[in-house]
Amino acid sequence: MHKRAYGAVAVSGVAALALSACGGSAPAPTTTAAGGASPSSAASTPAASPTTTGAPVRDQNVDLVIWTDADRAKTVSDFANQFGQDNGIKVAVQIAVDTRQQFKDATKVGKGPDIVVGAHDWLGELVQNDTVAPINIPADLAAKFPKTAFEAAKFNGQTYGVPYAVENLALMRNTALAPTAPKTMDELVAMGTAIKAKSGGKVSNVMLQPVGKTGNAYFTYPYLSAFGGGIFAQKANGEYDSSKVIVNSPGSIQGAQVLAKLGKQGVLTTNVGDDNAEGLFDAGKSPFIIIGPWGTANAKKANIKYAVSNLPTLAGGGQMQPFLGVQLFYVSSKAKNAAIAQEFVTNYVTRKDVQLALFKALGRPPALTDAYNEAAATDPDVKAFFEAGKNSKPMPNIPAMNSVWGPLGQAAADVISGKDPKTRFDQAQKEIVANIAKG
C-alpha cells in the first residue's frame, strides 16, 4: 500500500466529513422534502412528506403553504387542492411532526408556512413570540359557531384563528359491563364496585382516569369546575386573568376533597397513568374511563362495545365540566402569501363541507354549528362528546398556563394518595402564583 493511496482515501473521507460538518452546524432544517402526501395531491402540488423528524422545508414555488400534523394532512391537502383549483393557485400541505415547536422556530427565521393547523391553547405562546397574525372575522360569520369556539381563538381582545373542531373529555363506558350510564359519581362508584365484585377478578378498577405519580391537571380540572372552582378567574370579556389564580378557592378545595375521597376508596390511583389507562379499558379491566374523542378508535379496534355520556355530577356540586379544546387554523404573522392565507381561513375553512370532511377524518365534533348538526345526526359518539362539553369553558390559552400543569397535577396526585386536600391545594396555589410572578 502506498502513501498516495492513503492520501486519496483520506481525501474522499474528508470530503464527506467536511460537508457533513457544515450541514450539522447550520440551524437550517436539512430534511429534503420528497414524495406526495397523498395520491390526489401528488398530481397537482408538490406536497411534502418528510420521513425524518425535521421540520419540512418550505416550498418556494407555491402560492400557499400549510403545515399540519400527519393525522390531518390527507384531508387538509384534499380540500386545499380544491381551493387551489378554484383560485388558480398552487397549494402545498406539509407535515410537521412537532408542529407547535417547528412552526415557532421556522417562523422566527422566516421559513414558516402561511397557515398552521393547531390547538387553541398554543395561542398565548404564539402571540408572545409574534408568530401569528390577527384575523378579521365578520360578526355574521362568527355567529355560525358556538360562542366558546371563537372565545378560545381570542387573545388580548383580538381573534387569531378559525375553529374547525372541538374536543373535550367525557365518560366512556364498556356497555357489556355497564349497560346504563351513571348520572352521579356516587352512582358510578356503586355500579363500578358491584361490577368489580361480580367479575371474579377480571375487572380490576372501578373507574379509569390517568393520574400517574406526577398527576394530571387536565383530568383534575373537571372536579374543580363542578363546584365552580378552576384555575384562573375570567375577566369581564371572557379571557382568563393570570393574576387571579383560584386553585385554592372554596370550590376548588371541594373538588379536591372529592379527589381525596375517591383516592381513599381506591377508585382513583396514581398507578393508573397516561401510559396504561386506555390499555386497561380496552382490555375490559374497568367499566368506566374518562377520556376524549381520541379514545374511540382504539376501543373499536379492541372490539369493546362502548357508549359515551356526560361526566357525572358530584354530590354537593354540579356536573363535572371538562376543558374545551378548540382546533384552529392560524395565519402566520410572517406569511409570504398573507392575502391568500386570510381568504383560505375565513372563507374556506368555515365552509360546511370542509368542516364535515375534517370531522370524517378526525372524529372530533365540527366547530361550525351547521356541520355539527349534520355530523351529530349520523354519529352518536360525536353527539355524546359534544353534549359532555356543551357548557364547558375553553382551556386557558394564556402563557401563564405553563406554570400550572406541574404544581396542580402533583397536588392532585398527592391528594389522591392521601394528603390533606386543603393544605396541598394551598401549597399548589402558592407555587403557581410564585411561578407566574417569576415570568
Partner: protein
Amino acid sequence: MSQATKSSPADQVSTPTPLWATVVKWLALAVVVVATVLLSGRLADQGYGLYIVLAAMVAMAVLAVYATRRNVPAKYLLPGLVLLLGLQVWPIVMTVSTAFTNYGDGHAISKEESIAAIVRSSVKEVPGSPRYQLSVAVPEGAPVATGDAVYLLTAPDGSVKLGTKDGLRDLPAAGVEKSATGKITKAPGYRILNAREINARKDLTQFAVPVPGGGGIKASGLSAAFEGKATVTYDAATDTLKDTSTGKTYVAKDAFWMPQDGQGQGFPQGWKENVGLKNFQTILADPTIRAGFLMIFTWNIVFAALSVITTFVLGMLLALLFNDERLKGKGFYRAVLVLPYAIPGFVTALLWASMFNQEFGLVNSITGLGIDWLGNAWAAKAAILITNLWLGFPYMFLICTGALQSIPTDVREAAKIDGASPLRTLRSIIMPLLLVAVGPLLIASFAFNFNNFGLIFLLTGGGPFEAANTSIGSTDLLITYAFRLAFSGVAPNFGLAAAVSIFIFFIVALMSYTGFRRTKGLEEVN
C-alpha cells in the same frame, strides 16, 4: 494501511503514485468543490451569509491541505479539526452567548418587532362600520405588479365605492358589473387583479384606504374589506406605547411593555436583550434554586458513581466468567448479554417504567413486594439504579472482555507458577492491568451518567416531588432540574437554561479532570 501510516515523509518522494489514486484524489477534491458551490447556492437562497463564508473556508482548507504535497500533518488533523469546530466549539459559543441574554418565549423578537407586532395586533374593526366586498384593481394600462392599487368596494347597501391611498369616494355605477355575492367583477377604467396577482403585491399588506377618524379600510383576504383602527400607537420621542382606547401609557421595563402606572398587565410581546450576568445571579440567589441545588447535586454524584460502579462490577464479573477457556458457546452468551445494549435506551426506560408500576407492574407481581417504586423517593432512586444497571452493564461487559483478551497469558501463567491463588491473580495482576485500560472509559461513563437526561426523564420525570415544590424532584439530576427550571415558568427561558448548563459543564469538567489525573497516577504505578 498500517504500513502506509508508518512510512516516513521521505518514502513519499521515492514511491511512485499509482494512477488510480491520483484520479480518485482529484475526483474527491472536485466533489468537494462542486458540493461547496451547491451548498453555498442553497445557503444563499435561505439568506445565511455567514455560513457561506464558513463553507468556503472549509473548502479552501480542504484544497490547500489535500491538493498540495505539503502540510502532511494537516492531512491527518483537518477532519478532526473541522468536526471539533463544528460540533464542539460552535455549540459552546452559542450556549455561552445565549447565557447572557433573556432569550426565551416572550423574548424571541427584537424591540422594533415587538412594537410592530403590538401595533399591528391592536387593529380592531371599528364598531358599526360597514363591511365591504372587495376587488383589488389597478388603473387600466398601469402595470399589474407596480401600478397604484385601488380597492373597488361594494357596501352592504349595494353602493359601489372607490378606495385609493388618498381616501374613499363613490365609484360611477355606469358600466360596473357585480357577481352574485356583490363583488365587483368589471369596472370601466380599471383592471381587476386575480388571486395570484393580489398575492404578488406585497405592498398591499401595508395598504389601507384612509377614512375620517384615523382608521383605514383594510383587506381581509382577497374578497372582503373592513374598517379598522389601530388603538395602540408608538411614540419614539418618549419610547412609550399609548393605548388610545384605554388612555394607558406603556413603558419599556424588563424587556416588556408594562403600564406606566403599574396597574394591570403589560403586552405579552417582549423582546430579546442582553441581561449581562443576571442569569448567573438568579442561579446563585434564587432561594428555590439554592435549596434544591445541594440535594440534587449530592444525588447526582451518588447516581453517577453508583451507576458506574454497579455496571462495571457486573460487567466485569460476567466478562471474567465468559473469558474462561473452559466455557463452551461463549459467542452465543456474549451476543445475548449485549442485547440490552442493542435495544434503544428510551424503549427500555419506558418498558421498565411500566414494569415498576406498583399495581400492574411485573416487578411487584413477581416479587410480591408491593413497593411504590415510582412514588417513594428512595424506591424511585433504587428503580433508577436498577434500570441503569440493566442498560449499562453490556457496555462494561464489552470493554472488559476486550481489555481482558489483551492481557497477555504469560503474565497469568507466571503468577500461577509463582503459586498465586486465582483470587490473588485477579487482585494483583488482572485488575490493575484492566483498570489501566478501562479507567478513562469509566470516567467517560461517569460524565455520561452525570448528564443522563433521557433515563430520568422517561422513567420518573424527576419525581416523586416534595409536596410544596414541584420544581425539585427527588430523582432529579442537575440537567433535568435545569430543564424544568428553564421551562416550568410562564415562559421557557433559554438564557437561564444556558447559564445552568455552563455551571454543569464546569462541574463535570472539574470532576473529569481530577479523575483523569488519578488514572494517570495509576499508569505510573505500573
